[in-house]
Amino acid sequence: MYFDSIIAGFGGQGVLLMGTVLAYGAMKAGKQVTYMPVYGVEMRGGTANCTVVVSDRPVGSPIIHEPVTAVVMNRPSAEKYAPMVKKKGQVFVNASLIKKGQFECRAKQVHYVPTLELAREMGNARLANMIMLGALAAGSGVLSIEQVAKALPEALDPRYHKMIPANVEALEAGARFIQGKKAA
């Protein structure tokens, strides 16, 4: 089993937290995992990204040039990272901010997830990142939603533990969206 993902967006969209939760979930599921935050000279209001690798074997490189999956939360990230994804890979696009045709991509499977709309239906726009993480988990099959949810108590600061039930619901909503699309 091997999985990797570049997760990217604006600073503040919670992309680093998505990667952290995914990495913790993979560790708790007994997998080998690395998480690498963006490394370079970044500026305020710019993009943030991280790379997560999950495998049964020890992970050699935590940095990937041709990822199996990418999560793009804003247009600059879509333009930069979607074209890097392998042909047989998957791209998860934040459809609330990015439209079809706004980026190039050779991957066959592109999922458009209306993260903000789904989050607002749940009453909290800040859940958009967890909806996307649920979509990534369900669409790629890297971890079950239960396995991702198990990461929340350690990955989240204790101040936010009261938000765990809402985050789990958001993960489930993202997974349902992907599964509904698959069934359709």
């Binding site: 990495a23 998480y35 490189s61 990937i64």
Partner: protein, 353 residues
């Protein structure tokens, strides 16, 4: 079972140090190792220790020298340009036989260079680095787990040989986040009968690196040389899928870990390729290199520089088999696929099948 946590490589260094009894940290900020002082600044007061952000790297290494002279376990960390500034102090530590742990999460040079991962400090680390005829023991971790484990060992080795020990990583090894088992430190450090603890009721002790009397410095240097010879038994390395390897890759640190995946890729294609990863860079694993040279038809050294460790590999191999090199100056981190392709170029050039 020990607690398993998901932490940054830099944090693993800091946590390993505190677990091993380090109670004094002196440093000056520089990317890409700032997670170490950040962690230390919060953690040191909680364990009754002290964190000092010095006014410069030169001040930090001299604070380390002073604190270590009293017998305490102490550490400083920096990155390449900062480590250059510390060389005077490291030379004084070696000359005065005062133990201390110095972490270099190296970046790219020369000069201010950049913040990308690089292995360009290999020569500086393994040849002493400062002035005079001395060596530091150099440990080169390749995972966050090794950062934790080897930092604990660094304190034991520094005390055992009364010598500075360097932990040499790079931006990749410092910034990576991965699971680490927080093994408890169980050793009981021996009392230090040389430490400056106040001479009341005993003979006064003196720690110095200045020897002006006739012949005194010759004796001192020979004594140090003998110590470095004793240090040879601390050599550490790892063989990976090396049993029947026709070509042995040799790499340390970040490249060492990336090449494990390259070896898997090449083995899946039926190519008999293995890896030898030196973990101590000084002492260098000469015997392991000789063993690899005797077993394989070709050694291929890969580094994030234009050729440094390859010189030690050639010296150790003593022409028993050809030694090839692929180097990558700072800029981008090579992927396992790219390095596998480079390995195949060397494989074909060497006429291997």
């Amino acid at each position: 079972m020990a607690r398993r946590v998901m932490i940054k490589g830099n944090e693993a260094i800091a946590m390993g140090a505190i677990e091993a009894g380090c109670r004094y940290y002196f440093g000056y900020p520089i990317t890409p190792q700032n997670d170490i002082p950040e962690y230390m600044s919060a953690a040191m007061p909680k364990v009754g220790g002290a964190f000092v952000q010095a006014e410069s790297e030169v001040a930090a290494i001299n604070m380390l020298l002073g604190a270590a002279a009293t017998g305490a376990r102490v550490m400083t960390s920096s990155s390449s340009p900062g480590i250059s500034l510390k060389q005077e102090g490291i030379s004084y530590l070696a000359g005065s036989q005062i133990p201390g742990v110095i972490v270099n999460m190296s970046r790219s040079g020369p000069g201010l260079g950049g913040i990308h991962p690089s292995q360009g400090d290999y020569f500086q680390a393994t040849r002493g680095g400062g002035h005079g005829d001395y060596r530091t023991l150099v440990l080169a971790p390749s995972t966050a787990q090794e950062n934790y484990d080897l930092t604990m060992d660094a304190f034991d080795l520094a005390d055992k040989y009364r010598n500075p020990v360097m932990v040499l990583g790079d931006a990749l090894i410092g910034q990576i986040k991965e699971p680490v088992e927080l093994k408890p430190y169980r050793k009981k450090p021996k009392p230090k009968d040389w430490a400056l603890t106040g001479a009341e009721g005993r003979e006064a002790r003196l720690l110095k690196s200045l020897f002006l009397a006739d012949g005194e410095l010759t004796v001192h240097n020979w004594m140090l040389a003998k110590k470095y010879k004793r240090m040879q038994k601390e050599v550490r390395y790892e063989f990976y899928r090396a049993e029947d390897a026709k070509m042995m890759l040799v790499a340390f640190g970040s490249v060492g870990r990336i090449l494990k995946t390259s070896v898997d890729i090449l083995r899946d294609k039926g190519k008999k390729v293995g890896l030898l990863r030196p973990i101590t860079l000084y002492p260098f694993p000469d015997k392991a290199i000789q063993e690899a040279a005797a077993k394989s038809k070709l050694l291929a050294v890969m580094e994030l520089n234009t050729g440094q460790m390859v010189e030690d590999v050639k010296l150790a191999a003593e022409c028993a088999c050809p030694v090839e090199f692929y180097g990558r100056p700072p800029g981008s981190i090579p992927t396992p696929d790219e390095l596998a392709k480079e390995a195949m170029k060397i494989w074909r050039k060497g006429g291997l099948k």
